[in-house]
Symmetry: C2
Subunit: 310 residues, 2 copies
């Protein structure tokens, strides 16, 4: 591909994206307005790449680092880029400001994807002259371990911009999904929110501890979900496929739905109770250590999935 | 432990349970009323054990088989058992009949766990004199690959019966969770139902294809969920733990909740549309082949998880 990839915002999300693109052989220019962050980016990235290498997920750390350049001006980062991944702070006014700064620097045919996890791009691109080149490209953190990317066009995004973002994500080894219309929370956080809401409700009703609700997922439902989604799961769980499953088990699920109370916000009392249980299982001082454990497990899972033939 | 494990019902669930207990060194007696099923059970189990051995999940197939005895009378299977896993057809009258047959054969202190995925045990044990020894022990299929077991006491189940079922499940390497009070769908199917309901709603709204909704789980959310549940996930996803996460992201999830329509049954049109998409991706004739793929993946995942130190 001719032209480089630009990344605007050098925090954890931006540096994770730099790894994704550089690992796939792309040249990356990464910009952050904060000189302290700029000075630290390469060390952060090197640390993450060493971890990946320890888990046999990358071979040559230095070759990947050589493809990443930290830039001190937005102009130099964006100029000539075929794709820009915007990864600044999750706030509409901050997104509006950076998008307005990127827009005049953008090459013809380039696309800008925002890493936002919840703000539709129409909220911060409406007044740009080339707003048809902007969309959301929402990753899971860290993107070099979780391949999903939600591509969410605005009502004014060009079809060609969508196609080129989807194609680029596939080229660099990610798994893009197309969210055809903007919706609050996109797919990923809506699905996560639905599971969480039921988890909170079960805890609130006193049916089980947070630990046992967690186990029901990590030792049960989540095993399949790490390699197949909910529709394929039920498609394979009845002799005749999804329609057969819906006929057999639809009534049970509808009865469950009917037994649910109306959606309720997570109340302060409820949050306090779950927080208290979690802090018994995992003291606050151990949160960081457990996050490292999680990342090692994610790496081991990524290596496991990569080792499988199909 | 003195005394054997009895299994009533020799279908897929019952023979899966036989593997769980015999693999852990327990003596197992398995009964089915149907002579054709009785004659086939050991071949089914041998096939499953060979698969497990190929994936290095068991060592000695014959030693495990030697611990399993197929019985032609319920009396011989149940007599002297310390625990009975009832795994007959999922229908209240069938469960009522087998429970009434098991009750008078039960040794003092023995416990009966039903494999039912949806019927609370109070629906089919109320009139038994020793109803205080009955509860639900709901597995995921196949139980020798998915360790979760939901232990659901009725209002009249002895605390000691609950404790002994939980302890036995831990002893044989399963992960029991305690559902403190009966609720439709228990934990597992309520959590699955919540995710499915959102998946159907996203498809119905035209936001994404079933395939892309599936990918959002299998290449994103489900990676973490294969080793940690929803509460631990959010507990590690904010610097200060679950309370901090709820403060930061609660408003987004509440807004998502508020944007949902009321729960709606999966409509026939909707089911037809998903069925049509699934049959494009996976023709009906290939369903069985894909189920074999799923089981190989579950085995590989079980081996992967077993290979990790923590």
């Amino acid at each position: 591909m001719s032209g480089h990839i630009a990344i605007a915002g050098g925090g954890l999300v931006g540096s994770g994206w730099a790894i994704v693109f550089a690992r796939a052989g792309e040249s990356v220019r990464i910009y952050d307005a904060d000189a302290n962050i700029r000075n630290g980016i390469m060390d952060v990235i090197r640390g993450q790449l060493e971890d990946l290498k320890d888990n046999r997920l990358v071979d040559d750390v230095n070759a990947i680092l050589d493809r990443i350049q930290v830039c001190s001006t937005l102009q130099y980062a964006i100029g000539g880029a075929i794709y820009v991944q915007e990864s600044v702070f999750e706030q509409t006014d901050v997104k509006t400001e950076i998008s307005a700064a990127i827009a005049p620097l953008l090459s013809d045919g380039a696309v800008v994807g925002s890493s936002t996890s919840g703000i539709p791009a129409s909220d911060f691109t409406e007044n740009l002259t080339n707003r048809n080149r902007f969309l959301v490209a929402h990753p899971v953190n860290p993107p070099y371990l979780a391949p999903i990317v939600e591509i969410v066009p605005t009502p004014w995004t060009d079809e060609s911009a969508v196609e080129s973002a989807m194609a680029l994500m596939r080229t660099v080894g990610q798994s893009p999904v197309l969210v055809r219309r903007e919706i609050k929370g996109f797919l990923l956080n809506r699905l996560q929110g639905a599971l969480l809401r039921e988890a909170w409700a079960l805890f609130e009703g006193g049916y089980a501890s947070a630990e046992d609700i967690d186990k029901t997922v990590s030792e049960g439902l989540g095993l399949r979900w790490s390699f197949m989604g909910p529709f394929e799961t039920i498609d394979l769980n009845a002799p005749g496929g999804v329609k057969d499953y819906a006929e057999r088990l639809g009534p049970l699920y509808h009865a469950i739905d009917a037994s649910r109370d109306n959606p309720q916000p997570w109340s302060p009392d409820l949050i306090r109770a779950v927080e208290a249980e979690r802090r018994t299982v995992l003291p606050k001082a151990d949160l960081a250590k457990r996050r490292n454990w999680r990342d090692r497990r994610l790496m081991a899972l990524a290596a496991h999935k990569a080792s499988l033939k199909d």
